[in-house]
Amino acid sequence: MSTTLADRPERPAETGPVRSQRVTRRRAGRFEAKHIVIAVVVLLLAYLVLVPLIFLLWKTFVADDGTAGLSGFAHAFPDNADTWAMVGNTLAFAFGSMVVSMVIGGGFAYLAERTDVPFRRLLSLAALVPLIIPAILYAPAWIFLGSANIGLMNNVTGFLFGIRPFDVYSVWGMIWVQSLHSAPIVFLLLSAAFRASDPSMEEAGRVAGLGGWRVLTRITLPMVKPALAGAALIVFIQSLEVFEIPTFLGLPAGHYVLTSRLYYLYQQYPTDYQAVGAIGVGLLVIACLGVWLAGRVGGSLRESGTISGKAFRPRRKKLGRARPWAGLLVLGYFVLAVALPLLILLYSSLLKTYEQPGIHALGDLSLNNYRTLFSDPGIVGSFENTMIVAVCAATAAMVLATVASWIVVRTGGAGRRFLDALTFSPLVIPGLVFGVALAVVYLRVSLPIYGTLVILFIAYTTRFLPYGMRYASAALSTVSRELEESAQVAGARWFTTMRRVLLPLAAPGVIGGWVYILIVSFRELQSSILLYTPGKEVVSVTIFQQYQDGNATLVSAIGVVLVLLLTVLVVVSQTIAARRGVRAE
């Protein structure tokens, strides 16, 4: 079976664009829905993203008295050893987390999609649960597992071997917990990419005598480069921004990172928006660099999607004697990433106040937290509100992201890189700045937005657009341009081509993005807490309030219900998608 990659050297590199231009020219002068859709989407995106972005830049470079300057940078990054130590710690933590989460997430994605590893279904669960567990509980759950003093894992090794080797309060502890938390997005992005790329190329490599390592590095990984680059970029930025893990695990060990500085600035009065903004702008520069790099990596594949007109059937590599070991690895990961944190969550949800596991605790177990949860109209209402906002935001973000990704991946305009960077920027705007920006704008708009769920819908759609973009562009760039061209040559309009050809093929990635945004919408707190409407709380706000009230075990119960609810929702949506996918084929 020949493949697109194999075909590539035989045709001039510019064939795609040239042919595309020809098709476009042929249609020039004809009114096309495509142009309206593109214009509307670009306008909407620009509006959604520019509001917080202009606010960020304005607050960073213009002081309250109207003078422009760079003093925010001096406040945020004073020139002393402390700043350099903080930057060093931050980069070490972010880089370490990126590498570990790429290895974990990417490795398991490869095992799940490309090999006959056992317990594959467990990996899908392992990709969801760490994302769903409330952030406020995730780091403490790991303290209960890995603290030198009270950690359950140390208790077990202490009992069995007389040693207590784990210390979660360390850089390695931070990297480990953050990596487990980030690995799911790597897994989700890469498994969609692996699923969409043709394994026959690897077979061809093997037939040609390449060893396993060379097949992996020369064929398999290059095929999913856009997804790899996108995932690395996202987890790196996430690690620069994460609050809970450095504050819970780094601070007691004296490791200060960028977010410690943000927290410090948040506490000040008057709020030093110039300095907060300067950190945001610093992140923005890193993100733009990353988008540019990811674009360059993805660019090499832009002309040749791996899903071509030729049929392929995903075939899994036989692991042979390594199969039981790989299975053990999957089981081990499942236990560490899912079972242990979930068990701790379940156990604490049955208690009134947390106590170390043991016989003495058994008598205190009860279902009281669940009774409270289901009988409190405020908590139940916050689930309903979040569900409405999250489903709408995930859908809107993915519609926008899919069209925007099409523009970035398929068109040759100079603005596409800019559009790519623009849609990535909400990821790096600090939550406080983001929340204040939306409040400033919508408090002055007489439409019923501020004080309603609509403002949260706008906030989530914008904040999570970058995830949608990574998913959608990774999915679209694996689909060969020639399929669209064939459809167009056959007379199909753009809409039909998108609906009948492109979307069904890119569906796994697009649905993956929708699921991811749905889940992270349940977690968003930093802007929600500033923007929520009294009486219309969302789950993250309820969790925050209950936690502040000292009801951590009730929060655990909310966490357990969230895990169940979202898992069911994800499975249902994937089942529906799979059925549609079958029909589409």
């Binding site: 004296g254 947390y354 106590e355 519609v399 000292g550």
Partner: protein
């Protein structure tokens, strides 16, 4: 899904939004509703049952009251009792003190005050007062509150006490030092947690030792540096009190009294409190731009009277114990208290204390504001 008409709408919304954004350079706006001012003036001279009856009648016609709060006992206990007694619907926005301030300042900046009552701490109330957003609370009930619980901008309803809390399974009675200097002993290394946000507590200690005990700045710095060498820096009182309870470390030096449950069924204890115990003053104020001024006043009155019981049950120190039959203080007679220096904290010097505290925690100089 995307239809043509949305293009025009998006452009319109974009123009409105971006225009608003550009024109919204935070000129400090004071929300001021004349109706609220008139109402406050009208009720200020009324007393006792007459005042309550008048407020209830007016509040019922107003229909509801919107509270912006930080206290955790208000939603589960105080609001249900208030709603039950007066039949007035209450809506609550709750966040941390900094988030609360940010939201109010944004709403005030857009002349869209959304709340009738704000409930927060002394220094934050001073900031809101500087911005001209709160109305002076005037009522005969304030006579029941001692002067030390009153600031220029607030009649305090309760105190939050900051003091060391320990895990009784890890620390034996009598083992705890009576003052902060005792924690300089190397045996406490890594065992005494402090919150990185507690620079107000640090300033209180400074005021106590230098102004009340006559210690020199140099001696205070020397003492604090030797104690800080043993600190375990943490973030978040709630989460770390749980870790304290679970036994992850034995003492939380700058923890809050109300985290030790009043029923005593816990491994946490504040017995033998270190001298001094520091107090923040918290309370509720009506907003100048309140849409429901009578209901706002009614809630503030309630907060200083019937709500005192719930505040006490939640572990806070009530400022008006005369409203609680059979009240017994949680802290022993003769405990030395120091009150938060809210005036300094609400000024530019507050940030200087934050920097000094941060330096102390990181082992850097200077550890006093310059």
């Amino acid at each position: 899904m995307l239809k043509k008409p949305m293009g025009g709408l998006a452009g319109l919304v974009a123009a409105v939004g971006i225009g608003a954004l550009l024109s919204a350079c935070g000129s400090p706006a004071t929300a001021n509703t004349q109706a609220a001012q008139d109402a406050y003036a009208k009720y200020a001279s009324m007393k006792g049952k007459t005042r309550e009856d008048a407020l209830v009648a007016a509040a019922k016609s107003e229909g509801s009251v919107s509270l912006y709060i930080t206290n955790s006992a208000i939603k589960p206990e105080i609001v249900p009792a208030f709603e039950k007694k007066y039949g007035i619907k209450v809506t609550i926005y709750r966040a941390t003190t900094e988030q609360l301030r940010t939201r109010i300042l944004q709403e005030a900046g857009a002349h869209r005050i959304q709340n009738d009552v704000v409930e927060t701490k002394d220094s934050e109330m001073a900031i809101l007062d500087q911005k001209g957003l709160i109305a002076p609370y005037q009522s005969d009930i304030t006579a029941q509150v001692p002067d030390e619980a009153k600031t220029d901008d607030l009649v305090g309803a309760y105190y939050i006490a900051t003091l060391p809390i320990h895990n009784t399974k890890q620390v034996q009675p009598g083992e705890l030092p009576k003052d902060i200097a005792g924690y300089a002993d190397p045996k406490w290394k890594g065992k005494i947690a402090v919150d990185q946000g507690d620079f107000n507590w640090y300033e209180d200690l400074y005021n106590y030792y230098t102004k009340q005990k006559g210690m020199s700045d140099a001696d205070f710095v020397k003492m604090m540096k030797s104690v800080a060498a043993n600190f375990r820096v943490v973030d978040g009182h709630v989460a770390n009190t749980q870790l304290l309870q679970a036994g992850d470390f034995p003492v939380f030096l700058s923890d809050f009294l109300h985290y030790v449950p009043a029923n005593g069924n816990t491994t946490l204890s504040f017995e033998q409190p270190m001298t001094p115990v520091t107090l923040q003053i918290l309370g509720a104020n009506p907003m100048k731009g309140a849409a429901h001024p009578a209901a706002a006043l009614l809630f503030c009155d309630f907060y200083l009277t019937e709500a005192q019981k719930y505040l006490n049950d939640a572990g806070y120190i009530p400022t008006n114990p005369s409203a609680i039959p059979g009240y017994t203080p949680r802290l022993p007679e003769g405990t030395t208290f120091v009150y938060d220096d809210w005036k300094t904290l609400a000024s530019d010097k507050g940030n200087a204390w934050q920097q000094a505290w941060s330096n102390l925690l990181k082992g850097q100089d200077p550890v006093l504001p310059q």
